[in-house]
Amino acid sequence: MLLSPQAARTSRGRDVDVVVCGGGNAALCAAIAARRAGASVVLLEGAPEHMRGGNTRHTRDIRFAHDAPNAAATGAYSEEELYADLLRVTGGETNETLARLTISESKSLVEWMTEQGVRWQKPLTGTLHLSRTNGFFLGGGKQMVNTYYDTALRLGVRVEYDALVRELEMDGGTVAGVVYDRAGSEARIAARSVVVAAGGFEADVAWLAEYWGEAAAQFMIRGTPYNTGIALKAMYGAGARRIGDPRGLHCVAVDARAPRFDGGIVTRIDAIPFGIAVNAAGVRFYDEGEDLWPKRYAIWGKLIAEQPQQSAFAIFDAKVTGRFIPSAYRPVQADSIEGLAAQLGLDAAVLVRTVAEFNAAVPYGGSVRLGELDGCRTEGLAPPKSHWAQRIDTPPYFAYPLRPGVTFTYLGVAVDTQARVAAADGRPFENLFAAGECMAGNILSRGYLAGFGLTIGSVFGRIAGITAAQHART
């Protein structure tokens, strides 16, 4: 039998069994799992209702191990293979116990998510390269978030929006409750267990500036403006142990015309390997043909962040239009390189020289094969373009103005296999749990593995919810 929150209050002297701070994937998985385990649950989402769901709103797919094809994926993907992929992207820097736990628990995710009402999309053209390893939920992340909210509400989770958690109230080594904003004024709620699943701190530009200096002011934040890391700070305030490089960011090239926050997936620019990238001075600064997607995709954010004014331009010609995923904005277009420079506000003479030098370094007749490392490289050019080097000589010419776009931060708190947050001395708090982006750094310390952020959040959300409920009800 599920108790109503009111019943729980009278029987236990606390307002509620479990408070979940946050309202994205990890928080929803925790709230649903805790409620299904019999606890009374309050979920505090810092965003207003129409913005609920954090960065999870922008997600597309989730990675999981599976021994056979299922509703969401086309072929087998073993635990060992997933673990090997993880080691590859992190360079081996992962907490093996937590990583292996995540991977083995990921096997039951499709079934669990389906039970909560999530639907799956049949693998389609746009998803092919991931269709064996990742499941694509029907309609994307916001649809999944909406489904989770519907399910949570139906199960009797109490949801408060505009409820930004500011502080954890500690009672010795345990959490007694949380202090949060409620419609502009301060409120508190006493709880037997607290789960923090409030994302990273990427939306707090001042905090980013502590590690990135003035450059941070030019960063675009691809996700929700509500992930300001206040709850993360509250955990540090309570004595939680830090993990992860504070300067660690997942950061890609996005269109400079994008909204400052929340531009999501549609502002990323995938055109760089198809032409050249120049900075605000009109000169090239890095090998555009270094490596294939997704590696090439994830390095460009930081490269641009290191350029003057954190600004760059992807330049290509009519030969390659339509070869890459379009972005929400049309490229700037001109019939000559001078014309392009004028529209971009670049020095025309410099840009013309950059393009001419690049073209002169491309051996005659090189025909490129996009989609593989084709070895079509420049000769005698610094920096080189190692693959797909072909001349930019067919008008009209195009350009995308670029900026760094921050996806998420890696800084977080240390947790154990029960999702309990570790204190500075390494011992776990008995009733403080963390899930999602704010602890993903334990496992994904750096690099990127498409769809694995949600895996970590779902697995640890579920564990946190169940353990938090068990703790509260014993």
Partner: protein, 366 residues
Amino acid sequence: MLELDLTTELDRQLSVCNACRYCEAFCAVFGAAQLRTAIGDGDVAYLANLCHDCRMCYDACMFTPPHEFAINIPEAMAAARVETYERYGRPAYLARMVRSPGSVALATVFAGVALVAAAIASSSSAAALWTPQSGPGAFYRILPYAAMIVPALALAAFGAVCVAFGARHYARDISGDNTAFVTASSLGTALHEALALTYLKGGGAGCYDEHRKSGSRRFFHGLVFWGFLADLAATTSAAFEQEFLHLLPPYPLWSVPVVLGTGGGIALAVGVAGLVAVKRRSDDRPTEPRMIALDYAFLGMLETVALTGLALLAFRSTSAMGALLAIHLGAVAALFITAPYGKAVHFVYRFIALVKNAHEQRNIAG
């Protein structure tokens, strides 16, 4: 409210969708949009009618207002469909009816009823409107067969010709360079998708009303459609019994026309009521005021026809029969007159769009 220039607006919105593609599994619109790097007028007319208005992409979109991208595909599509109905309505001066569906519905129903009542009064007597009749040919003692059938056929023929002209023009406008999209295979696929209402399934989730997704819209739409067909079949079978078997109406309860008519009438009445109920609880943001007005006007007329038809059956041997017959026939006439200039034509354009889509998708696959 939307900008007036829908082509520019849809071009803007769909370029965001083409970079996103999260909604591609809901319906055919997003796949079709991906084939087009820029959206022109013909594309708008095509995509807007390919859209079945399940609204799932509104619920799923992280860029709906107040986001600065202001994406609201179902709203823009609804607005564009309203424009289609007016642009391809023939003759053009009658197509202006699309602009005020509510008053048009009221006016035509009243006019229709008044005309039928006048016809009854002049062909028999005013008293026929409230005198009980029974036995074979009871209806025709009130209104002679010819006075019933000739105007009905004329109206139906006129409507069909008007719709055919509009449809032809529409098919040309959306075809671009490819005018030969009507093939046996594309017709077959489209027919299947139309009858199964495939694109009201929302990729499996149903339609978005408000805070929940359900199959109710598709279910009630099916009731209306099959109910309407059953009623048409009832009328046809009645004509058959009369012409070839020389049996005059009213027919006995267990005759083909009455069973089909009753079943169809009930399905229609329940289906329309269900659609109205769904509409009333729906979130209005992913649609458009002009479309809402068209929907209610059409549903209102359908319900009038369905309920008066059923009432006619129930009270056919009472003194109410004459008046009910007048109201029923008047409403049927109004429905036929307005059909080419309102929501009723949606299936024509939608079907043509489905045929084109089937052809287009086959071409990429093959």
